[in-house]
């Protein structure tokens, strides 16, 4: 149950912390910057291969942009667990559902806005750099990838926020989540088929492929991510509503 005044208050809290603004700025920088580099330098080698996917190439940075989104989501709560800071805010907004809902609403909407910006920029810049082999915004999957990647980043931020509220530690969440999301897919490549397809990041990132293969489609994949996020946000709410602050 977010309230507009408390969402506004959370916005002020967010913009007045360097670490939070920093992770927010890092999101488009990583997403767009790394994608552009890859599109520019890797393109000539890849373009000849039969499974060349110009769309996937221009969303290469999404994997790293999500780290910024996760950091942002984590900070939303980890800043409060320092020195029992949450008590200050619960003394001002004692209805916990209002505070929790407003924090999540701020997180989701801010990351969605920045994520959409990142998504469209990385698509247009990436395809421009790929050049002749690139696709336009009206081609298959292009619009879906741009919009979907924004939603995806917002979901990952909420995922991290929910987990941090549950575990009460930003270090724990970052320590578990980032290796899990970044390393596991590289180490266990066979996971990519089978169960691995249903991990929040694997499922969600399908939408950055022009023609994803497998048991689920790109939007269904994003739906799978949303289910994971829903579970994390509920678990976080469970912890916040029950525990002593």
């Amino acid at each position: 149950m977010p309230s507009l005044t408390v969402v506004h208050s959370e916005w002020i809290k967010m913009r007045s912390l360097r670490s939070m603004v920093g992770s927010l700025v890092a999101m488009p920088l990583l997403t767009v910057g790394l994608s552009a580099l890859v599109c520019f330098f890797v393109k000539p080698a890849k373009i000849e291969s039969p499974d060349f996917d110009p769309l996937e190439l221009s969303f290469y940075g999404l994997t790293f942009g999500q780290v910024a989104a996760i950091s942002f989501g984590t900070l939303v709560f980890s800043q409060e667990f320092h020195h029992s800071g949450l008590r200050v805010w619960l003394s001002a907004v004692p209805r916990r559902g209002v505070l929790y809902g407003s924090k999540m609403a701020m997180t989701g909407s801010v990351v969605l806005a920045v994520g959409l910006l990142s998504g469209f920029t990385t698509l247009l810049l990436g395809q421009a750099l790929i050049g002749e082999a690139g696709i336009g915004i009206t081609d298959t999957g292009a619009l879906r990838a741009a919009v979907g990647s924004g939603i995806y980043l917002a979901l990952m931020a909420l995922f991290a926020a929910g987990l941090t509220a549950l575990l009460r530690s930003g270090v724990a969440v970052l320590g578990v989540l980032i290796p899990f999301l970044l390393l596991v897919p590289f180490i266990f490549t066979d996971l990519a088929s089978g169960v691995g397809k249903y991990l929040p990041n694997r499922a969600g990132q399908l939408l950055a492929q022009q023609d994803p293969q497998g048991p689920i489609g790109p939007w269904a994949g994003l739906g799978v991510t949303a289910l994971w996020v829903g579970a994390a946000v509920l678990a976080g709410w469970f912890a916040i509503s029950r525990r002593d602050a």
Binding site: T5, S9, I12, G85, R87, V88, S91, A92, R96, D244
Partner: protein, 313 residues
């Protein structure tokens, strides 16, 4: 006019009982001092009143409702629990602004409170750079933002400079005069003595005292008179003859005596009757600190002799 009602309030943390069946009221129109040794349960009680911690049993309400459901929290209660709580990376101004906005208060309150608490010059500094005293002032500014009917302050004088302590005392007195409710904990007995009207004292989570301060001090004082005379020898003889126990006050001048179990008017009468000139004559009252220490010593003696629940585990 708001009243805090605490009924059978109990809070267990794993094996220890922090608050044990507390029942008392905090009334408007006076400053209530909240005393007790470290670990007596004062801070826990305040957190329970604010709904930050969930009670194991019992209830704490403000105007008959739990604060956790308040629709206008900052207008209802201003609280200072831990001066370290504000995030060090935020400026004082932004900290207060976010608080004010969360309750729909005008942003102008922020500047006013920074001025009133004397930290306006540091308003744009990050809280990380603040001294303990400045953090206390920021905490008090936050508590005052909503111009609340109830103030709950946990050791607000910690780290405050004498000027700040003085200002805080006047502010609390004025708050009470306006018919608001003030609950303030402190370890500074001399300061508490001149600030509060009513005392609530805890020991090991239980209620020891809930009475007006004057009454508490009187109940723990035996009458004693301090008297200084140019003829202490003759005065001593006359008083002893009337059955009074007279001691040298130990001021080193051998002119000052203390008389146990007597009132100043009686001693003055005797001196006048005997034509003994007096330089000084006063009823001696026990200080709040003495009375408090006596109480807690009694309590320690009482509890030391009895088995403590769970200590054999």
């Amino acid at each position: 006019m708001s009243i805090i009602e605490i009924r059978g309030l109990t809070k267990d943390y794993s094996k220890t009982r922090a608050v044990d069946e507390l029942t008392f009221d905090v009334h408007p129109g006076r400053v209530t001092g909240f005393l007790g040794p470290n670990g007596a349960g004062k801070s826990t009680t305040m957190r329970l009143v604010l709904g930050l911690d969930r009670p194991t049993a019992g209830s704490a309400t403000i105007d008959g409702r739990p604060f956790a459901s308040s629709e206008t929290p900052q207008r209802q209660v201003g609280a200072l629990l831990d001066p370290q709580a504000p995030h060090g990376g935020r400026t004082a101004r932004n900290h207060l602004l976010a608080l004010a906005v969360s309750n729909g208060l005008p942003a102008s309150r922020v500047g006013q409170m920074l001025e009133q608490t004397g930290i306006a010059a540091a308003g744009n500094q990050r809280v990380r750079s603040f001294s303990l005293g400045m953090r206390q002032r920021l905490g008090i500014a936050a508590a005052l933002l909503g111009d609340p009917a109830v103030l709950l302050l946990d050791e607000p004088t910690n780290g405050l400079d004498p000027e700040g302590v003085n200002w805080l005392r006047e502010m609390l007195r004025e708050f009470a005069r306006q018919g608001r409710t003030v609950l303030v904990s402190s370890h500074l007995m001399s300061e508490t003595a001149v600030t509060v009207d009513h005392l609530v004292i805890l020991g090991r989570g239980r209620l020891l005292v809930d009475q007006p301060m004057r009454e508490f001090i009187d109940s723990r004082s035996t009458p004693r008179v301090r008297v200084r005379s140019t003829e202490p020898g003759r005065l001593r003889t006359e008083l002893a003859a009337r059955g009074f126990v007279v001691d040298d006050a130990g001021d080193g001048d051998h002119q000052t005596l203390t008389v146990e179990g007597a009132k100043a008017d009686v001693i003055g009468g005797i001196a006048a009757q005997e034509g003994i000139p007096l330089l000084e004559l006063a009823d001696q009252q026990v200080s709040l600190e003495r009375a408090y220490l006596d109480l807690t010593a009694d309590e320690a003696e009482f509890t030391a002799g009895s088995p403590i629940a769970g200590s054999r585990a």
